[in-house]
Amino acid sequence: MARRSFLGNFELMVMLALLRLREEAAYGVPILREIEETGGREVALGSIYAALERLEQKGLVSSELGQPTAERGGRAKRYFCVTAQGLREVRETQRMLKKLWKNVPQLQGGAA
């Protein structure tokens, strides 16, 4: 059986947040908001950037720098977008998770 790496929990959350955002708004702060609002817990921006860097090294995400702005102390925004390979990887993870989700008696009926 061929060995392949799956997306980690946090990496998948970052990828899904990226896919939910419009391309022109997909930089650190909106990604953080998206994850915090859906996940309901505080997340460190540093963790998001570390995950994005790992994903970029795997070729699942690409990034480009925007224009520096005054409200960021003259620092540019780094915009991220999911690559075709990244989208395939998310679909593959979704397919695998759906399979695993099926026929789990403990998760059926809604009672914990």
Binding site: V29, A44, L45, G46, R72
Partner: protein
Amino acid sequence: MTLSEPKAATWVLKYFGCGNEALIGDLLEEYWKGHSLTWYWRQVLMAVLVGCGSEIRANKLLAVRALVTGCAASILGYYLITLPLYKLYWGATAALRSSRYEMWWSHYYTYPVVFVPCIGGFLSGWLVARLHRTNRVVMVGAFVALTMFADFREFLRLAADSLTNSRFLPYLLD
């Protein structure tokens, strides 16, 4: 009202973190939108920790080499620098105390001795930085963390000793 940039925290992130300008910009944007200085520092410290962790994970062998080099240098430093300096220092202060030149301020000469072990530590850290120039901040940080972890029990013992010492108790209980 315009808030100023938290320069110290930004400096820490720039030099001890990944130096990621986009991350600094994001943090400033959020800080100026109303987040507290505590939030900013928490994010900076988390970014530094996460950045160091990622760099160590990406360079595991280099990290092991840095720790081994640092520990070996510390042991060598103890025998070649710290012990001889201690002997020299105690010899000199003992001679001074027993001589006719002893003054009321003579005991102050014993104070710098607490810095003697630091010399070996600084030299070990310098050697680690010198041998791992591309990742020197992370490698020296890992070595310092290991040293502090190794000395933690001794630190706790000294703290407990100080807190239960009859000399200090009256001040602590007041």
